[in-house]
């Protein structure tokens, strides 16, 4: 099992690196799906089968599909790939890479400082999660619902085809 953890981790890291280095959006998205799936495996290994399922269904399924739809809508072809190639010079990577490296070192240092005992490894199943969700986190769930609603409305409004809107007075002027 522990081997599975490391394998999945390696896949996740590798595919994520691929995501951020691809020029073609569709390729990147497919690597992202791989990354998400491997994280789902990790979830399962960490005793969260419900979360793993959600990861596969919602993230890798729904959200990524959304991305792909958009990529299709925008007709990103050869042109955009070329542009990406232009943008992604090696020099672009140095600054962010350095920042991230420093951060990583610091984080690892901080993590290693805490002498955390390993333990647990217990499965927390969907029932427990459900009880928690609709018990103490009731309000948060409702807030999340409202957030989703807002997301829907926002997406609808933003995604709408904009027509040039003129004030009625201006329209009259145009007509008259």
């Amino acid at each position: 099992m522990i081997v599975a953890f490391y394998i999945a981790s390696a896949i996740a890291v590798f595919s994520t690196i691929m995501v951020i280095t691809r020029y073609n959006a569709v390729h990147a998205l497919i690597y992202l799906v791989v990354s998400l799936l491997s994280i789902a495996v990790l979830f399962y290994l960490l005793g969260a089968p419900f979360a793993a399922a959600l990861e596969v269904i919602i993230y890798a399924g729904a959200i990524m599909v959304l991305f792909i739809f958009v990529v299709m809508m925008l007709h990103l072809g050869e042109k955009s790939v070329k542009q990406e190639q232009q943008w992604l010079k090696l020099s672009m990577w140095t600054g962010p890479g350095l920042l991230a490296f420093v951060l990583l070192i610091e984080m690892i240092y901080l993590i290693s400082l805490q002498s955390l005992e390993d333990g647990g490894g217990m499965v927390v199943d969907a029932k427990q999660v459900g009880i928690a969700l609709y018990g103490p986190y009731m309000i948060a769930v409702e807030l999340a619902a409202i957030l989703l609603l807002a997301g829907i409305v926002g997406a609808y409004y933003l995604g709408k085809e904009k027509t040039t809107v003129l004030h009625r007075f201006l329209k009259q002027q145009e007509n008259g």
Partner: protein
């Protein structure tokens, strides 16, 4: 269940998070930036799940679910914005939209 070393999983989350960050910093294409954000969100979710597993509590997963719902809302709005952005500027270059400078 086999115990997975806590440190390792958290380091993994950190690595993923920072990869997301690197993506965010390097890419000019807004679509890729959104993807990087997703990676970072995922990394955060991973830490919650690790915590949930370590203490055998449901709260970590609950948090993960909230992150998930937030991420989906964000993606929905974000993608709608990208579409509008593309219509307006006819490119996905974020630097094209730097009107907000002081």
């Amino acid at each position: 269940m086999v115990e997975i070393p806590l440190t390792h999983s958290i380091v993994l989350a950190a690595v993923l998070f920072l990869l997301g960050l690197v993506g965010l910093l390097t890419r000019r294409n807004i679509l890729f930036m959104l993807m990087s954000v997703e990676i970072m969100l995922n990394a955060a979710g991973l830490v919650f799940i690790v915590g949930s597993s370590r203490w055998a509590q449901a709260d970590g997963q609950v948090m993960y679910i909230f992150i998930l719902s937030m991420a989906s809302a964000e993606v929905a709005v974000g993608l709608a914005l990208i579409v509008q952005f593309y219509k307006k500027f006819n490119t996905l270059d974020t630097d094209a939209a730097s009107k907000l400078k002081g």
